[in-house]
């Protein structure tokens, strides 16, 4: 008799199932708008030219070894990663109250932050502190905080389906009504899945309430540079909160903006009140890391650190990032233009107002079903599309398909 006889099959993850279904589809015109990675106009993965260059440098540098990294990671990586998030001249960095924990992508950074908060925030081992995630959010946020032990993960209003924009009033109201010391998971830029970000003015209102209600800011920054093409612009919200004196966490991912998906490069930036707090926090995080992955992988961190700290490479990287961001912006404007030219019912301004990899099209589940079944255009049931799945070659077909879906199905 097996000890695991009653283990149920876990529910499949929607986006993985979508990709699997796409792969099996033999239709010649099929399009995958569910893919979570950047694709070129030829629909190919893209290893950034600067990354290829740095990989060669590393491969030919025989002084580099494969010995264990420190538990908290490669020091040059941690420092340069935090600097990219907070800015060269960040007062928090100058005051020596910033620390970084090299992590396994953004997910790893979120997990370390969550495990730390569950142990040391709002009492000791307080699993009942409410964790607020946006409605909707990246579905893994629930899993990470849940598995870290938090029992109360709740939504804050974010997406207004009717006006296809930010539900600001609801968001602010949820902040006002949140119990003191609740944790709010905020998307630093390029909100996943809606592509809708608060404006600077709206961020100021959010910060004001959070300060007053003593709410903890935990930023998820997976698209810095990738969203607008400008590193500074994409970090505005995080830097604003730091300037207001918040202590906060920022889970950074370098998967998208460096195209280093499978190297698992992330950093948990910790901004503390002072350097003593920063050291104590990091010492506890080190203990947590030791029991999950022990020490992080070196390759991706070396690539990022080398790039960020070498002026010519840094310039080349910014250029590569802009290439990706520009292609996404082009696809946005072209899709909108085509839908407008077709006279597709509804407004399509949101396609170009939204930012980053994803767009919440506003298509309903029946329309989505039609697109997948009849047109072999794959997208999430929520109506989320990945702009990177669009190319100059498939744009017409996708626009026509959307037009068909919207006109045939209400």
């Amino acid at each position: 008799m097996s000890r695991f006889a009653e283990v149920p099959q876990a529910a499949p993850v929607a986006v993985f199932k979508l990709t699997a279904d796409f792969r099996e589809d033999k239709h010649p015109s099929k399009v995958n708008l569910g893919v979570g990675a950047y694709r070129t106009d030829e629909c190919q993965p893209w290893v950034l030219p600067v990354v290829q260059k740095v990989e060669q440098l590393i491969a030919n540098d025989h002084s580099l070894n494969h010995e264990y990294l420190p538990i908290l990671g490669l020091p040059e990586f941690r420092a340069s990663a935090s600097k990219i998030a907070l800015g060269e001249d960040s007062p928090a960095i100058k005051e020596n109250r910033v620390g970084g924990v090299q992590s396994l992508g953004g997910t790893g950074a979120l997990r370390i932050g969550a495990e730390f908060l569950r142990r040391w925030y709002n009492g000791k081992n307080n699993t009942t502190t409410p964790i607020y995630v946006s409605a909707p959010t990246w579905e893994n946020h629930n899993g990470v905080f849940g598995d870290a032990g938090f029992t109360d993960v709740r939504p804050y209003r974010y997406w207004d389906a009717e006006k296809r924009g930010l539900a600001l009033a609801g968001f602010l109201e949820d902040l006002e009504n949140a119990p003191e010391y609740s944790v709010f998971l905020l998307h630093a830029c390029a909100h996943n899945p809606t592509g809708t970000d608060p404006t600077p003015d709206e961020w100021k209102q959010i910060a004001e309430i959070m300060e007053r209600k003593k709410l903890f800011a935990f930023f998820d920054s997976a698209y810095q540079g990738f969203a607008s093409g400008d590193l500074q612009k994409d970090a505005w919200a995080v830097r604003y909160f730091v300037s207001k004196g918040f202590e906060l966490f920022c889970a950074q991912s370098f998967s998208k903006n460096f195209g280093l998906y499978n190297e698992r490069v992330g950093n948990l930036t910790v901004v503390a009140k002072d350097s003593d707090n920063a050291s104590r926090i990091l010492s506890q995080m080190e203990k947590i890391v030791r029991t999950i992955w022990s020490n992080p992988p070196s390759q991706g961190a070396r690539i990022v650190a080398t790039t960020l700290t070498t002026p010519e490479l840094f310039a080349e990287w910014k250029d590569n990032v802009k290439t990706m961001a520009d292609r996404v912006l082009l696809m946005r404007s072209q899709l909108k233009a085509k839908l407008q030219a077709l006279g597709t019912p509804g407004t399509w301004e949101h396609i170009t107002q939204q930012i980053g990899m994803f767009s919440f099209t506003g298509l309903n589940p029946s329309q989505v079903g039609y697109l997948i079944r009849e047109k072999h255009v794959y997208l999430m049931a929520s109506g989320r599309i990945n702009m990177c799945g669009l190319t100059t070659k498939n744009l017409d077909y996708v626009a026509e398909s959307i037009h068909e879906a919207v006109t045939k199905i209400q």
Binding site: A59, H66, R111, G259, A272, T291, P297
Partner: protein
Amino acid sequence: MSALSSFADTPTAQPGEEERLSRAFLKDRRAEKALLWATEYLNEEGHGSLLPMTRKVMLQICSDPTLTLDYLPTLGLPEFTRSATELALGRDSPAIRENRAGGVQTLGGTGAIRLGAELLQCWYNVGGARCGPVYLSSPSGGSVAATLQGAGIRDIRSYRYWHPDKKDFAVEPLLQDLEDAPEQSVIVLYASAHCPTGAEPSHSDWKQIAEVMMRRRLFPFFLLPSQGLCWGDPAQDAWSLRYFVSLGFELLCAQSFSTNFGLYSDRVGSLLLVLKQSSLLLAVQSQAASLVRALWSRPPGGGARLVTTVLNNPALLAEWKEGLRVMVERGMLIREKLKERLRMLGIPGFWDHVTQQRGLYCCTGLTEEQVEFLVTRCHVYLPASGCVNVTAISDRTLDHVAESIYLAVTSDPARLQTLTF
């Protein structure tokens, strides 16, 4: 904005023994000092190095234009987990043929232990009594207990392993502790190359252990941290694991490729699952995937690709195995030299255990007082257990280490505190 931190009450984490040793060694200004604890296979210069063939394979992979940096599947590179599973169980294992053995790619050995612990904590014996006590050997390697605790396992106990009088593994006390363990307990076992003692059960010991575990329905959680570096032969190093599988046990096995490939910072590991039937394997793998998504989402690609390339290329595989033999021979040579030096110094007592133990680690049998003497008087740093990593002893430090051990053993205990060097 309040100046008061939400973390004002968060204490500084106390460093573990390994960390304290390491710091003390670094601060020590003495020219003649030695650090005898390490978790890597160290070369003569005191560094964990790549196996010679690894760099060549790396360059090959680096220049492959078809390789992308796209995400790996959550469960890892399928060719890697298949190869890791075959390496552990043997290609012709019935469990593989019956589709009831599979792997999940993890972040080194620690990641595999953590994932295994999470699986046990969530899914072991659902419907029955959940994961009960987990037993570790006494003594046990560095962070295993902490990793289990990280997954929420609270009831951690130990079984007797090292026999201080015999200076060896002793099976009788272990068997007794297994008889006394509650049914369904999880027992963590090193398949080979025990950390930190280097003492190995014999094949007949393993048979007795398996018999008790079968009878008392105890669940094996094997650790295979350096397959090939114990006996110089991967198949031999996995004998105990394969034996248990042949008896029909379902089990977990945490495999690390850090030491046997020199890929420490690449974090290559696999959690091997052997279930009673293939439908169960699929269900457990699906739950493992769910746990992985909230831990690290997907594993890293580089190291796994390299290991897969080597294991599936006959010429590279042969080169790798030869490299393991060379590493094991060097380890044995260091043991021989240490024992010989001690003998020449006229050290009292029996020191055969030094050369009888296998793998990276050696339990010297020194008492805590003797270890204290070594650390504080001789500037030879090792943990209180008296266990060392033999590769941390270089030709340069051998004499000092041997002489220090001699002094520690021969000095009158009452005088140990007063001697200075």
